[in-house]
């Protein structure tokens, strides 16, 4: 893929540490203000967890970073969302390129009704890459990164739908990794999984932060505590508290945060 292509947001040849920033971000769905002016800097190569009750705006905020909200009717943004200082909502941004750089994993595993191999190769193929050797290498590399290779290496042509839920989710992460993103957004990636599969994904997230900046929305407080370096607590469209996870879960500054993490409201 040519790096000269117009609209590349992140030049990976320079560095792999990518910082996400928002300045005075407000999000409207028609007249409803879902995000009420958030300034935030998300550190590179760290896991940052977004927590908060349903409807607090954490998923909306997460989806700002790969412009997934663009498809929502009535969506309007004020303020700036920046990746490495570049406003990703300015006109000349190539959104497809942006999404290549900012991968996303969803709550429910969503493999395509294709083979395991084709699922992982999908992102590369739509970029026009058809070199078999290159694709094989990338597929193997991606499946190894998510610790799925040993489980599926002899069944690469089998349908991905036949995999278990936990395997499917790891496959979806592998599909995201194959296109070499720099940032991975995860929206409750383990909420549909059993504890064992959850543990595997959590371990994976912990390992992936060496190479990627990861932002994860989770309703599982213990999960946020276990895997994230930083935690942000959202409530009614506002960022109430954002701190090191160790600090936030042991001695939060704000009473609202304390009430939420101790299960007293929300």
């Amino acid at each position: 893929m040519s790096k000269k292509e117009k609209g590349i947001v992140i030049d990976k040849s320079i560095k792999r540490k990518h910082k996400l920033e928002t300045k005075g971000v407000k999000v409207f769905y028609d007249d409803f203000m879902a995000i009420k002016g958030i300034d935030m800097t998300i550190k590179a190569n760290k896991v940052t967890a977004f927590i908060g009750p349903s409807g607090c705006g954490k998923s909306t905020f997460l989806r700002l970073f790969n412009r997934m909200n663009d498809y929502v009717d009535g969506f309007r943004l004020e303020g700036e969302v920046r990746i490495d200082g570049e406003n990703i909502y300015k006109k000349k941004i190539n959104v497809e390129q942006l999404r290549k750089q900012v991968g996303m994993v969803f709550q429910k595993p969503n493999p395509f009704p294709k083979s395991i191999f084709e699922n992982v190769a999908y992102g590369l193929r739509i970029q026009g890459i058809n070199d078999k050797r290159y694709l094989s290498e990338k597929v193997e590399d991606s499946l190894k990164q998510v610790a799925l290779w040993d489980e599926v290496k002899d069944d690469l042509n089998k349908s991905a739908i036949a995999l278990s839920g936990g395997q499917q989710q790891r496959l979806c992460i592998a599909r995201t990794l194959a296109v070499e993103p720099s940032i991975i957004l995860m929206d409750e990636p383990t909420s549909a999984l059993d504890p064992l599969s959850t543990a595997k994904i959590e371990e994976l997230i912990y390992e992936l932060k060496e190479k990627y900046s990861i932002v994860i929305v989770t309703h599982n407080m213990q999960q946020a505590g276990r895997i994230s370096d930083y935690t942000a607590f959202f409530y009614l469209g506002e960022l109430i508290e954002y701190d090191r996870t160790k600090k936030l879960f042991t001695n939060p500054e704000k009473q609202q945060t304390e009430n939420y993490i101790t299960g007293r409201f929300g």
Partner: protein, 228 residues
């Protein structure tokens, strides 16, 4: 289903019960000591079983609280603090028990003159007063009240430090009273240790309230709270 708040309140009440029980044990041990009342000393010894049973109950309940509720923030600090407070109180109970055992083992009461020069009564009073302060601090969850005991503990430490010299002088003058001196010395050591244990409890209350670890540190007086 028992809610986190209900479970925590039940634990809190057990903590109050343990405080009150151990304070009563020390109070009875003091009364038995000064009046040489072996019946009362026996009662302290018998009641030690209750202290141990409550200690085990609190430990078990703390474990359940952690397992069932996965506490964080102040809930977590509360249960961690309570476990240590419980451990320290059980030791206070052990010392009250130890003092009571001496009363039964020693036939003759200790001379008033010795008690006076060794300031034993003052030590008992200081220790009991520290236990009163710490009980209030625990019930009110008040770190400022908890800090009051640091100063009182110094009185106990001072008397304890001086006791060795007094005893070594006295024992030369009255070698026939050596048994009494040794007993007194042991009681003083126990009371000094009780002061340390109550100080530890104060540190745990401060940790619970302010998320501040003050043990192994010079004690400061400062206050902090949460932003609303």
């Amino acid at each position: 289903m028992i809610s986190l708040d209900q479970h925590r309140e039940a634990l809190n009440q057990s903590g109050v019960e343990m405080l009150s029980l151990c304070r009563k044990q020390l109070e009875n041990a003091r009364d038995a000591f000064f009046t040489h009342d072996s019946d009362l000393a026996e009662e302290v010894i018998r009641t030690e079983n209750r202290v141990n049973a409550l200690d085990l109950k609190i430990d078990r309940d703390c474990e359940r609280f952690i397992a069932l509720h996965n506490p964080v923030a102040s809930d977590l600090r509360f249960v961690l603090a309570l476990r240590k407070i419980n451990f320290d109180l059980e030791r206070v109970g052990d010392h009250a028990y130890g003092i009571s055992k001496y009363i039964i083992e020693v036939d003759t009461p200790i001379e008033d003159r010795l008690l006076e020069i060794m300031r034993v009564e003052e030590m008992f009073e200081s220790a009991l007063s520290m236990l009163d302060d710490i009980t209030d601090a625990y019930i009110e969850a008040d770190a400022k009240l908890a800090r009051k005991v640091f100063k009182k503990d110094k009185v106990l430490n001072k008397i304890n430090m001086k006791s060795f010299k007094i005893i070594s002088t006295e024992v030369r003058i009255n070698p026939e009273s050596i048994d009494q001196f040794l007993l007194l010395f042991s009681v003083i050591k126990k009371l000094e240790r009780i002061g340390d244990l109550v100080t530890n409890i104060a540190e745990e209350i401060i940790f619970f309230r302010e998320a501040e670890v003050v043990k192994h540190r010079k004690k400061k007086t400062f206050k902090r709270g949460k932003e609303e």
